[in-house]
Symmetry: D4
Subunit: 224 residues, 8 copies
């Protein structure tokens, strides 16, 4: 395995990541200028590599469009997809569960990222523990999944409750949804880290993307 990269002026594109870590190429768009983003996408295009962008603003997307980049964009999750061909399908299934409607952007970031990487994704939205019968109504379906991504803000109890009910690994995503003593997502982050039920591991606040990558790494071990 040779680790190589393309050296732009302001960035070193890690174009060997797929061979090294198994994951497709991705770009964190926040904090990059429109011009930098354009140059990066043009480089991937030249190399005929598909790429997923996260936290892409509408302004960034429109600038790319104006300069001839043909990409898909989802405003809710702020996901940008530049695709130049088919993805290898992964075995197994990921369930993306979220507690409330306000958690949708993060849940969709997870779902779209996983789908881009080749996973089969099932969505179970608004199944938070405040009305736990909604979760139980979907439980048998959720139990079919190989990995569960549990997205929740406010108190963040969904992940722990789920982990006590299923046998698959649960990847918990705290969100910044809430106010006051949520402290920007600190509350559900701590809840999830302190889960009494076993089998929960946690990613950064609002990091649907990271949860999806971890989930796909798991799927890649199945029937390898």
């Amino acid at each position: 395995m040779t680790d190589v990269f393309t050296d732009l002026d302001f960035a070193k594109l890690d174009i060997s990541r797929q061979s090294r870590t198994g994951a497709a190429e991705t770009i964190y768009c926040a904090g990059k200028t429109k011009e930098q983003l354009l140059k990066i996408l043009q480089t991937f295009k030249e190399k005929n590599i598909s790429v997923l962008g996260t936290r892409c603003s509408v302004e960034q997307f429109e600038f790319l469009c104006e300069h001839g980049v043909k990409a898909e964009y989802d405003e809710l999750s702020k996901i940008l997809i530049y695709s130049c061909g088919q993805t290898n399908k992964l075995y197994g299934k990921i369930a993306v569960c979220c507690a409330g409607t306000a958690d949708l952007p993060v849940a969709e970031e997870a779902a779209k990222t996983a789908a881009f990487m080749g996973a089969e994704v099932c969505r179970y939205f608004d199944v938070g523990v405040a009305g736990i019968h909604r979760l139980f109504a979907k439980l048998e379906d959720i139990r079919q999944a190989d990995v569960i991504i549990a997205v929740a803000g406010m108190e963040g109890a969904l992940a722990g409750v789920l982990a006590g009910l299923v046998s698959a690994p649960v990847i918990a995503v705290p969100t910044s949804v809430g106010y006051g003593a949520s402290f920007g997502g600190l509350a559900p982050l701590l809840t999830m880290l302190n889960s009494c039920a076993e089998g929960v591991s946690v990613v950064n606040i609002d990091n649907g993307f990271g949860a999806a990558v971890s989930a796909c790494r798991i799927l890649r071990r199945i029937k390898k």
Copy 2:
């Protein structure tokens, strides 16, 4: 109503509290010397007033015994009771639920305080959300209570899950049970404050006593 107190050298005993707030007399024993505690109990004894002590150490209790104070003591909850007659019974019932075995000292502090104040108390211990079927097995019983005290450490999800399942007010007590990112009970405290289910209010970490007093204030409004 006349607000009076007895002025010891180091303390002003608030002996009119019962008439003002309805609650029996109580002492927070931690941070008081054995001699101070003895003098306080002797004063109440002289005035023929029952009193409950919280966070009483074994050393404090033994010192009181050696000096002729006849009181009951529970080592688990660190509750001291000096009783000089019967308590008025309150109408209604309090359910004290706790998530795990390690939460017992706090749950018992709540249960014993409420009983001292005249409430009927039912205990539902080790019903945490990690094995949620244990909670459901007791749910119909819990629904009979007029107030629910939910005691939980670690992730603290019990209060919110309960509040979504019952119609009574839920008073949540976070405990310092846990380690690492529990940060001494901060995690369940934030969980409970951010509960998605309505009807939860929260007291200080490990404050079973305070939860019981609030619960008894509620019972006192019933059939007044």
Copy 3:
């Protein structure tokens, strides 16, 4: 009791909440798109269910109006009320006290929520402890209430002072009013959790709504 819900694309409306928890239907409007909110309200309208919306922006309200939803809106408290008939009256009375003029939006959220749920509400505004004679002037009135909601920002001392003066349960609402070392409401939150006076329980920062729901749960136990 059958727990049911209506499954919209992005939300599962918990339309059995009233039978399960006793509380009327409510929506947390923040974090929902205008289109989602409209669809939710239309669903409740079809089912002839009254509903209260909290943290509803002017933009959301205007969008609803433009699309034919006939609802009341209070800009100060950001409360939206869609009513389709009379509410059952609750027995007992709730006193909503607030420390300063800047706490009014939270206090009104509490007062309007409680009124929507059928409670009799008395308001005592600007009675903070900095000029404690203002509180004493109203004390006899406040003592008539069955539950007291104490709303305060900055130092948040109102709840504890009140709890020492009355026999009713006190539900404390810290607010984000203040600056600097208030840290967004952390200061009054900690004050209230550490109240020396017994009988105080606390809800999330700025959560007037939650305090009102807890208060109404208490009223529902009276003369049941």
Copy 4:
């Protein structure tokens, strides 16, 4: 699947956990009295169920021995194993990597838990990033694993560096090893949550047990 439990006075033993979540029975020994722990182990013994205890003190272990419980105990990791027969072997391999010698107790908790649950475990200790050549010397071996558990205190950089070099999922365990601005493990916890490399998920500080359970849940999906 029927969810059942055994109701002791102070605990409800979740003896259906294995069928529900796939994991063997476990006990968190901290915060339980010696008598409670003995009673729990006797119950499992009667039911002929193997069980793993975490955070078991020497005193607790000796008490169990004195009362006839035949169990293995490892003082470093504080793991207690009561075994009554063979475990089902899991497919796949777990690499447990740790940054420094002081992280060994946590790493061993992870390794012993995973082994108890049937996993093949390889240990790579003292491979922290301060002397990164030590990590590279073991990298090819580590790449053979299906799941990697990365245990690190102080700065906690090991997990992120590893995740950039391998294709397996990385479960990161921050430890409380360090001093000063480590703030009891907060520093490596935040480092791991903010990992730039994808594929890292995190468990509570010092929670080697939880990491192992998550890792075994992953292994259970392989060749199912």
Copy 5:
């Protein structure tokens, strides 16, 4: 004014402090070895300078006694006084008020320090806001003081309530008395910093000494 000091091996004694800042000499005993403390006291003795030691342990005091230092010691406040003559009396009066019995050590540190520096000190102990009538019973006396030191742990509301009732400056001392969400005195510290009543300034947690020095600096401006 010449600023001079005596250079010991491990310390530079600031023996010109009195002329520069007006305050008597003081030593912070915590963190000094018994031998260092002895040497410092011997130096002051040689120079015939009175000195006050704070946070002096019983062990330190006994070591000094054994080596011939004739000093007074108060175990409650941990104040050590080595006096070699009379102090200049200050004009005016300081009221030291404290909220509860457990705050006494800090209140006494303040009172003894102020007395050592020549102030007239009046003590008003156990006048916390939970039973506010106890405070009102002493209010007219407290109003006679030129500076008020308000010592309180837990919620720390005493300082703000007092400042709204008197015209003298209030120096607030938060204490570490409390538990849970008191976070070692953070709660009353924030309460006091956010006081709605004007005229409150705050010193470090448990710093009765510092409050007394500030109060004496104020007295020194009177009738100068």
Copy 6:
């Protein structure tokens, strides 16, 4: 002394404050609507009482002007002064020192408040410890003051350095000037609370007003 107030709909004006606490009337303008502020000022005008407003926005001021309120306004400090006659002069002098140019708004809030209350104020701006010779150049002047207000952001060391050099009481005001690990003024707040030099007391972050009121309370004790 009779404690009275004027009850507006949304506020209870504490018009007896001057007799009770000695301080002139003041309004915290932030968080009040323009209409509320106007009504408050009109009430004071009717009663012929001067009043100082803090944190008054330009918009609030312009609204008052448009409605006939004749008041002075300083945009830098956001101080509004409605004066209806002369103030009683206080004896003594206040030195307002600030560390950097960016601290000026807070320093001016202190200076203008103190002047409004009748104090003689001297300003010493940009005398921070990074170039300590600037402070020494002004030291003899500063030593003439009866109270020193030390305003500083970033590291906030000015207060402690000053307190070691003068004999007057020092009231420290941390400011939110800074970035990163200043955490909105937390850094200078902690610095000032931990001052090694004696004689420092601290007010809330950016609270120049509070420092001035405390300083004036001190001046009022001089030659009383």
Copy 7:
């Protein structure tokens, strides 16, 4: 050495800093009004002193241009340079390394500051540990430097990894790049402070300027 300064109304320009500390004159532009900044620059111009401004906004720069100040401005790093002649060259070389593209503004602030002060600067951008081969590809070059400035946000692991690979001192700059549990740069700050590798010292979050000044102080000691 005479310490002098120029006293403007709102600022005391520390024009002797170069002789005292060896560093060129600099201005922190944030928090200064445009008029203040202009006056400061005109003063330096009159004295024929070069000066570097940090955190200068576009608006500030344009105002200076309109008023005849001839200065260079870099929008990315917000560095303003007013130069009136050549700088003394420093011996030795500074390597400025940054982890990601979003860290560029901070890295450039460091690089431009160091260049202004006379240092030779080499830039190594986007060499974060997520793709560590990018760092190794540049390692031999980086090892030529006399001081290394390591700029990184998110997990901030770059500084520690570098310090284990080189013999030069490493000055670490955490950045606020990231989201969620980065808490505005707290995460990389703690990472860097807890670096297992020796030889790392840390400056404030986003403080590229400070790192450069420290680095130049080091260079000034070489071949002195």
Copy 8:
């Protein structure tokens, strides 16, 4: 350069560190068992390599002595030195300054580490800013140093004041000396990171060792 290490069972000794980073071998003794420490020292002895141990307890040292390791030990700083020959002397001089007597253990850790690595070290103890004339009395001496290590707890202002007075780089070490709002050294850590004076970089709380290593890396660049 070949990076090699010796693989013990529990540790991989980084015996090529000197050639890679220039620093002598060191061991962090805390968290290692006595047996592990003995084995490590025996390994270094066999290879004839000098080594410095930090945070070595008296018990660890005595165990080493009993097993024939001939090493020096300083109880104050907890430094263990096993020396097998002369050290290369470094050019230049390091000034270790500390604010108070209680900071001595950390200051000595720095001083002894630097001396072990071949530096000339001058100590300036108890020169904190509370009595700033003590610092000025030593200033000309301190200015002769090539690197200054500034050790301070409580408010931690020493580093910033020094940096404004000298031209050498200042490495700041916050200590955990203090109480209350020092929060274990957080206060001086923040102070030092927010230093207004340029030229300060900071290491972990109580990390005298790290400061010394950084200082020696600087000295190694002089006259190389």
